[in-house]
Symmetry: D2
Subunit: 348 residues, 4 copies
């Protein structure tokens, strides 16, 4: 009953195996090894983007910050959702790397609308040197609320961006969960929908710690590499990073793990709808659920062995009837039995 | 015959085993798991520093940059060797994180002398707000030239620093190699010698990618943690970083691997002294050798299957008799037979 | 009929005279001259703050950015009004100097309420290292909308800040206009109301280009001085900056010029209330008026020789009946006849 | 007898007059006024560069930092003299604005040689992402030692730079003093000699506080303007900055003041050669002299009313016979009688 985050479960055995297999003999460091080139090409294949620059880092914060820095000038502002991870959960890393600022676009169910985006872009009107200049757009798929942009919705946002000469970054920490939910290809959910760069997550979906930075314009590759080194994000024993990505992509493991996580989440959602005094707050489309129930019910669930975040209050302290919001995240390793146990626990 | 770097060999099986053992069940992310606390305590034990702050990162550049940033104000200058890794090999990462500059102290055999350090500190004389203010000292043990500071030499440098109210960082990417060469304890080579923070390397000595940042003044811990997150260097699945450190320190593996690397280097050095037209350039004290021999000899060695850096010229192009410098680095995995094969190759 | 900004008019003759008087003989540079010390003491007298650190810079953006940088850590967020100059009009200078980010507090009539501030501070809840940490509060007096915080309102905001251990900066680009409107002392409108640092403006109120940075905690003085030099904001021929401040404060010129500017603005407001199809949008309390009238009326006024900003549209292009907002700012030099001429022009 | 610096004397009356004349009526702020455009064009005329971007700032540190930032990427290193002002006297402002580092080229008599420059550039060899990349060259004319690069010497340095694809910045805080000494034109000492950007100083040569940033490639203009605003260096009442430059350039005042300063310095040098126990240390070519004499002689001169820096020791404390170095700087306002009085004082 561990729903704290999709970074809390074990690494998939295939990824461990790939690391173990990579652990033989000698290889040049810093990504100049053959395994890394193989992994890069595999990502290019996945994205149907043979010319894309592909580089690996250990986590999503560095992927986002480095990609955005490569797309942004220090006097610009980055447009993103008001609930975006880059705004709320990265301790100013995007500002550190880009030296720019963020303009927050209001969201509905975790998603920006084209209208809200346009309004915000227009509000950063052209006042010469006085205000920040318009920088890139950053979209998160799956959103922080567990909802998903349809391909049309992504395209509508990138169309607005393009109208103003603005490029688009996709924070894809849960790229796979979104992709299998939409049943589309990686290309469709990225460059075919107008996206210029992607933080392609592996860590939350079965890897140990690897994200691919995918840049469809290869002219930006060298700047990205310099920024990565300068940020201290180039690994010396790089092959172990690449091995993870190989294990993650081989035999479509990444799709399998994402489907498993989403399926467990759907099972959870189905079970929750019956629970008295419990409201699911957003459409459940991937592997995240937000739900409200009384403090006393949270307390009982947590005391009963469930693990998840209570977002807006202390489950142990306060009015027992007060409605508090909990967040459940499923990863590939959660079992159907686990989910059922949790639902049973809620039913008391 | 792979002497390119000590980051080119495989991860020690014990470290892999530790990762595999850590890969079970659920654990909170971002270092809040019990394995991480165990690993922190193990490092504290190694340094006989029960109150020290200990945090893990994936590589030496981030360890150095984050520790220095925690010790330095943006208007200061950091004193370091003119051959220091933080100056020559980190693509401005220290400047990026500290926002400060570096003052280069001339070296002899890769080592700063107390006199040279004092001269440089005095040269950054107190001219009010005009020049940079004096920031911390950074010492590298083992040095970039493969030489080692004795405990007295470290103490003499930190004494000079202390005289000016300056704190000291130790870049210990090869801490273990230095320690076993000196036959001293980690405490003796750090805080007992006046060092305030240590980048305690694991990656070059058998780990996959982990360094411990050791801060003897725990009051700096929180700032360090915030800087690490802001730099994108806090891993979500943190337990796998900690597991590496556990495997690395358990049963004194780190000392064993360092002794193995140093022993192979000593074997190399012994073999090289006989080779005609070959000069070893610095005292061989740890696991690095710089040596000069004619271009034609380099070419023959490299064509014969050896792998190492030729530092100052193209081995394939130029006067065959010109003396070029090569660098050999041994890691724990190099075998005595490998070394002998290389020496035989040089003898022709 | 020049109402474009209070930086568009001439320098007051007394300030010019002070510069001319300072222009004799030799003086050490960089603020080590006696005139500068006299000017610093005069500011300390004005603020009844004998121990305050007082330093001069040439404009408001640098004053704000340097003061905020001295109060903020790079991993923090600064709380300010959503219409604040530091957010909208300084091209990321605050972010550049502080390396931090801004959290925008919603405003009513240009003013934050204590409730809105508290809500925003609470929203930047303590989530460990993940989100930005809480940094200082920045209040603007006179606000961007021409409204004024009462002393009680300032105190209510700083009280909320203090409750969370947060310090307060006052952007006083129009400090004098606010002060004469409130009829209070500089001390009452700053440290007695809980303010820790002030950007004390001179430029918009008769000086050529000088702002005093007032820091009530003198322990921050040295850091401020280093940041000022590092930002390139320390003038070599510093006495001419100090002379301006002397001329500005001598014989209460600063109060006289502020009263003149506010009086002309009041005269404007009185005249505008009669103009058909014209609505004044905020309380007119200092020297700024926002007003709406049809595009055709703006066009006629501007064609007739008036100069002011039309904030949200092109006066020459669009539906003649559309209501557009104009901004009028009066400085000390505007004459009553000028104002009357403009009102007559509007009346057609 | 005031030789402390050329920023210690009064502003030339013509410059004050120009300010006073500018002080009438209303003008748009931030450089959008006609006076500013006139001043820009005057600088373009002086440099025979009708397309150059020309912008004004208040001091040399900001001019240098902003120009270098416009020419440099954060992962690069700037080549400059080991005695350069940007290295020693700007409290990390160049590092703050560029985010890059400086590579110090050894100097002889304050001047880099092409050989030394080439050696340093080669030392920053191409090692992929590991080291900093090669950034621009910065030359100082007049040098910190009071010596002057001939046009051929400047050309030789920029030729080396160009060979490596490197652009050149000229720190011309004392541009006029160098120019009149060489008897050449501004074009000859800049773009005709391979220079790409110039910090064209006014402050040290009779202005109050103005430097022109001259960028021969106008494509960089917009970035420069954004960086200036973001650095807080765009003045609102900009016309007073422009007026200074107008007064400075009108009727060749700038040449006249530079000739006066240089002439007084030559007079000083001529007088010093006779003084017993006094050695002039560098060729006296502009308006700066370094000289050595015993501590007791310094003490007597300073006690006798002379003002100048003693560079390397306390004139009041130490062995009376120890040779200490003094620095004399003449500005336009120093009189021949002043100089004679000082020489008489030295002769005792």
């Amino acid at each position: 009953m561990y729903f704290l985050s999709d970074n809390a479960g074990p690494v998939h055995p295939n990824v461990i195996d790939a690391i173990v297999q990579a652990n033989a003999g000698y290889a040049p460091g810093y990504g100049d090894d053959p395994l890394t080139e193989t992994a890069r090409n595999l990502v290019r294949d996945v994205f149907e983007a043979p010319d894309a620059a592909v580089e690996f880092v250990v986590n999503g914060t560095s992927a986002n910050a480095l990609l955005l820095a490569t797309m942004t000038q220090p006097w610009e502002t980055i447009f993103c959702a008001d609930v975006a991870h880059i705004h709320k959960d990265e301790c100013n890393a995007p500002e550190f790397y880009t030296q720019a600022k963020l303009s927050l676009v209001p969201t509905v169910n975790g998603k920006m609308t084209p209208e809200a985006l346009r309004t915000k872009i227009l509000a950063e009107q052209n006042r010469g040197v006085h205000g920040p200049q318009r920088g890139p757009l950053s979209i998160t798929q799956v959103t922080e609320k567990g909802t998903i942009y349809s391909l049309d919705e992504i395209r509508a946002l990138t169309d607005v961006a393009r109208e103003f000469g603005i490029k688009t970054h996709l924070d894809g920490a849960r790229f796979a969960n979104g992709l299998v939910a939409l049943g589309c290809s990686a290309a469709e959910m990225s460059w075919k929908a107008g996206v210029d760069t992607v933080s392609f997550g592996g860590t939350k979906n079965g890897a140990m710690g690897v994200e691919a930075c995918v840049i469809f314009d290869p002219d930006l590759a060298w700047e990205f590499e310099l920024r990565r080194k300068r940020g201290g994000h180039l690994l010396s024993k790089h092959r172990y990073l690449s091995a993870q990505m190989l294990g993650y992509l081989a035999d479509d493991l990444w799709l399998e793990t994402a489907r498993a996580a989403n399926a467990r989440c759907a099972q959870l959602a189905a079970g929750l709808y019956d629970v008295p005094d419990l409201t699911v707050q957003f459409a459940v489309q991937a592997n995240i659920i937000f739900f409200a129930m009384p403090r006393r019910a949270h307390k009982r669930a947590l005391d009963g062995g469930a693990a998840y975040y209570v977002v807006n209050g202390d489950p142990d302290d306060g009015d027992p009837a007060e409605m508090l919001t909990g967040r459940l995240v499923t990863d590939w390793s959660i079992t159907a039995a686990d989910v059922q146990q949790f639902i049973d626990l809620l039913h008391g």
